[in-house]
Amino acid sequence: MENTKLTAKDFASTLPVKWCPGCGDFAILNQLQKVMAGMGLPHEKYVVVSGIGCSSRFPYYVNTYGFHSIHGRACAIASGVKLSNPDLAVWVITGDGDGLSIGGNHTMHSIRRNIGLKIVLFNNRIYALTKGQASPTTQFGVKTKSSPMGTIDFPFNPARFAIGLDCTFVARGIDTDMAGTTAILERAAKHKGTTFVEILQKCVPFTDKEFDALKDPVNKEDSILRVAHGKPLVFGKNKDKGIVFKNFKPEILEFRPGDVPDEVAVYDETNAEMAYLISGFLAPEFPIPLGVFRATEKPSYEQLYYDQVAAIGDTKDNELETLLSGPDAWEVK
């Protein structure tokens, strides 16, 4: 790894950023530029690949190699980039429609392979670029242009989808939480294998109120469960509530602030089952968990691929003619 001192500004492109005023994408862009600058990798080693949607404009605004591809196919294109050159840091920027609907198959199979892609899925629960149709994460019953009587589709829970697929790194952040999201992206940047980061984000024109409870300056901590490895699952603005598991069922236990009972679960990000239970928390019964849900080690696809190649031995010096002849050629004189 080259030791290059870079700042977030070095990763900003010269193009004017064209998202709606107030869009959460601006914050995520700043966070990611900062994370990239801090990794010690030079610009040319970064590739940002996206599909189609508001979030997918992202590559144009990062001063690295970038590929703004076609709807849903970012993971597929990025897989080709990563496998052909594993030294590259390959980021996939996608959205709830791009990554879970038209591109769901590629997202799923990238995770299955554990190929080294850093997938960041902006979840604004709507098709925004096409002006407001229900997406796979639009909540049940919500009225949109394509569901004037309310959706009858049950929504995906992106983080839980990734955990169900045994993704080796799964996290959820929110656009307004600069520190939390930056910390998640930093860990994702260092992880080997597929990382899946869901970032909750409102869409000003279409889903402006979507995550209001998580942004309320006074009461937000009552609605957020900050998940951290080795720490008890405690939440609430007074830190007076915790999660206990009874017979694998989560419950909320209230207690005196500062006096965390032993029954309150201590989070273990290597525990897939715990990650699955936590990621299923929905409002209003439970607080919405944010943080790193799962981080575990498994060989990456590119690692396994090039290990196999190395095991065959180096035959690169083979003359082309020898290679073409194979074992069964004959000579005509």
Binding site: S13, L15, P42, H43, E44, K45, Y46, V47, V49, I52, P59, Y60, N63, T64, Y65, G66, F67, H68, S69, I70, R73, C75, A76, I77, A78, S79, G80, V81, K82, L83, S84, N85, D87, L88, N105, H106, M108, H109, Y305, Q308, V309, I312, G313, D314, T315, K316, N318, E319, L320, E321, L323, L324, S325, G326, D328, A329, W330, E331, V332, K333
Partner: protein, 616 residues
């Protein structure tokens, strides 16, 4: 000359066509390809046609489960797997019932008579045994109890009854090797490698193969054996390759010549999967093989790898090409090199997945959204899949464009001897010039080819963004400007039009002008040249040309066609190339169209030539 232990007449022939047929589980393809290798090693030219059902194991003994392997071999006149077999080898009654209508009276039929049991006869629709009644009285039938002979050969082998039953195809192969004076060693060696872990089975199969040969030599049921004329071939190293193998080796060769990694993204599909299988064996040679989750992911991964600087390719068949089309549009606008090998099969939809056709021509040339021109080339024979695919790769990187190579089931499964080229015989690969980083713009162009420079991830100073949105000329920045879009559309069009400079002058078989010109393309090459050659021998005024570049079309094509009073276009579709010619040159060619999942043969083309010229 073949030496025989008995006084048997040995006839010399220019060429012969034989067809092995049996149950799809009988090992017919295996026996056929072994026979093909033995003829190739003996110095014959050859052409093969594997013809098998879509089901891996169709119900045993059924008509639908018959698998066939046809081979024509002999001197240099062999260009197709033959029209009708001179010798038909059938391993069961169903194979006889399916194939009898395709052979001429007087032909030889060799059967495993043990397989003609009442139950098997009933499944094949026979009410009485054709080996015993008058059904085959017009043919020379040689009935051999192959099952019983195999069993007696292996009675002390310790193998189970079902293991022994599986050896019988080698008994028949041994008989055929005797009949044509072919060597046993290549097959014996192949058996040894194949059953390396099971030497008992290897020994049994070799024993049966030898027993078959000895049986034919010792018995008097054969009154003749044949010496087939050899082909006067160019000296060099040869190998028998199928079209799919040839395409795979061409891709490796292209990457070596370009000094880049090869990236091949693919999803399993009949009849293209053997390209994937062949390349998967060569991972240590800078070949990255990626079996994707679907056709779309396969082409997209290859586009990603192309962006990252690899010699990139994907392979598929018609339905898969349809799925890849949107992404190919991306490669067109992003101007990234990509080779797409499309092994055509009978369509639409699943259609006839194991059978051949030429019906993806219009899909390849026109089947995209927007104005998205690209290069389309068609291979003419199994070995030509090598040179066509290699040329496609060379053009893809020189012009920074996707190139579609059209092969089909006939070329991909068929095989012929392939002369292994020397390094200095291979074409040079040139890339568009890459300026210093400070002068680099992603969509600047080479003045000659209009290709943009190829710089990708990992290269310092060339960082840029590309994608599916329209680009401003030169800089490649997003542009919604109306005039820029029209200009870029024209540039992309002109770039492909300039590929015409890569096309060598069209060779004419026969005279340069006259009554009739037969225009072949792709896999009809063998049938057309054979037919035209025979027609000319009988004094008919006919010539032929063969088109490899389907887009852009050769510059001299229109001029040549206009020098003939009539133009005939034989093709395995309902007239797709004919339609292209009509629209490009305002000509009215005559069509000869076959859509049966089987290749056009020389006899059919000859028949049409006669019909046209006699109607004059």
């Amino acid at each position: 000359m073949i030496k025989s232990s008995k006084n048997i007449k040995v006839s010399e022939l220019d060429s012969i066509t034989i067809r092995f047929a049996g149950d799809s589980g009988d090992g017919i393809q295996l026996v056929g390809s072994q026979f093909a290798n033995a003829t190739a090693i003996s110095g014959n030219d050859l052409s093969t046609l594997p013809d098998y059902p879509a089901e891996i194991r169709a119900p045993a003994g059924s008509l639908g489960g018959v698998s066939g392997f046809q081979i024509s071999f002999g001197d240099e006149s062999v260009l197709t797997p033959g029209n009708k077999p001179n010798v038909l080898i059938v391993m069961n009654p169903a194979a006889l019932a399916v194939n009898i209508k395709n052979i001429d009276k007087g032909s030889v039929i060799i059967t495993n008579s043990d397989a003609f049991t009442p139950a098997a006869l009933e499944k094949a629709g026979y009410t009485s045994n054709p080996l015993e009644d008058e059904t085959l009285s017009n043919y020379r039938v040689i009935a051999i109890p192959v099952t019983a002979l195999t069993e007696s050969t292996l009675k002390d082998s310790g193998l189970t009854k079902s293991q022994i039953a599986k050896c019988k195809n080698f008994y028949m192969l041994g008989i055929m090797y005797w009949m044509y004076g072919l060597p046993l060693d290549p097959t014996a060696n192949w058996i040894k490698t194949k059953f390396k872990k099971n030497p008992e089975l290897a020994e049994a199969n070799i024993k049966v193969l030898t027993a078959g040969r000895n049986y034919a030599d010792a018995t008097e049921i054969f009154d003749a054996r044949f010496q087939i004329k050899k082909s006067p071939v160019t000296p060099g190293k040869y190998r028998n390759l199928t079209g799919n193998e040839a395409a795979a080796y061409a891709l490796i060769t292209a990457a070596k010549l370009l000094k880049r990694k090869l990236f091949y993204g693919s999803y399993p599909i009949t009849p293209a999967s053997e390209i994937l299988h062949t390349l998967a064996k060569h991972k240590a040679n800078d070949v990255v093989v990626y079996q994707a989750e679907d056709e779309i992911a396969a082409v997209c991964a290859s586009i990603g790898a192309s962006f990252a600087g690899c010699m990139s390719a994907t392979g598929t068949s018609g339905p898969g090409l349809s799925l890849k089309i949107e992404a190919i549009g991306l490669a067109v606008i992003a101007e990234l090199p990509l080779v797409i090998v499309n092994v055509q099969r009978g369509g639409p939809s699943t259609g006839l997945p194991t059978k051949t056709e030429q019906s993806d021509l219009l899909q390849a040339v026109y089947g995209r959204h927007g104005e998205s021109p690209l290069v389309v080339m068609a291979a003419s024979s199994p070995a030509d899949c090598f040179s066509t695919t290699l040329e496609a790769a060379r053009i893809a990187v020189k012009y920074m464009t996707p190139v579609i190579v059209l092969s089909n089931a006939y070329l991909s499964n068929g095989s012929e001897p392939f002369r292994i080229p020397k390094l200095n015989e291979l074409p040079k690969f040139e890339l568009p010039p890459l300026p210093e980083p400070e002068n680099f713009k992603p969509y600047m162009r080479d003045r000659d080819t209009l290709a943009r420079p190829w710089a990708g991830p990992g290269m310092k100073g060339y960082e840029h963004r590309t994608g599916g949105l329209e680009k401003a000329e030169g800089t490649g920045a997003i542009s919604y400007d109306a005039e820029n879009h029209e200009r870029m559309t024209k540039i992309r069009d002109e770039k492909i039009a300039r590929v015409v400079r890569e096309i060598p002058p069209t060779k004419i078989q026969g005279s340069n002008e006259g009554e009739l010109l037969v225009v072949g393309w792709g896999s009809t090459y063998g049938a057309v040249s054979q037919a035209v050659s025979e027609a000319r021998k009988t004094g008919l005024n006919v010539s032929a040309i063969h088109v490899k570049f389907m887009n852009p079309l050769p510059a001299d094509l229109g001029t040549i066609m206009r020098r003939f009073r009539k133009v005939l276009v034989p093709e395995e579709n309902t007239g797709q190339f004919r339609m292209m010619l009509r629209s490009a040159y305002a000509l009215e060619p005559i069509g000869l169209n076959k859509v049966q999942g089987q290749p056009l043969n020389g006899e059919e083309v000859l028949g049409k030539i006669k019909e046209i010229l006699r109607g004059n």
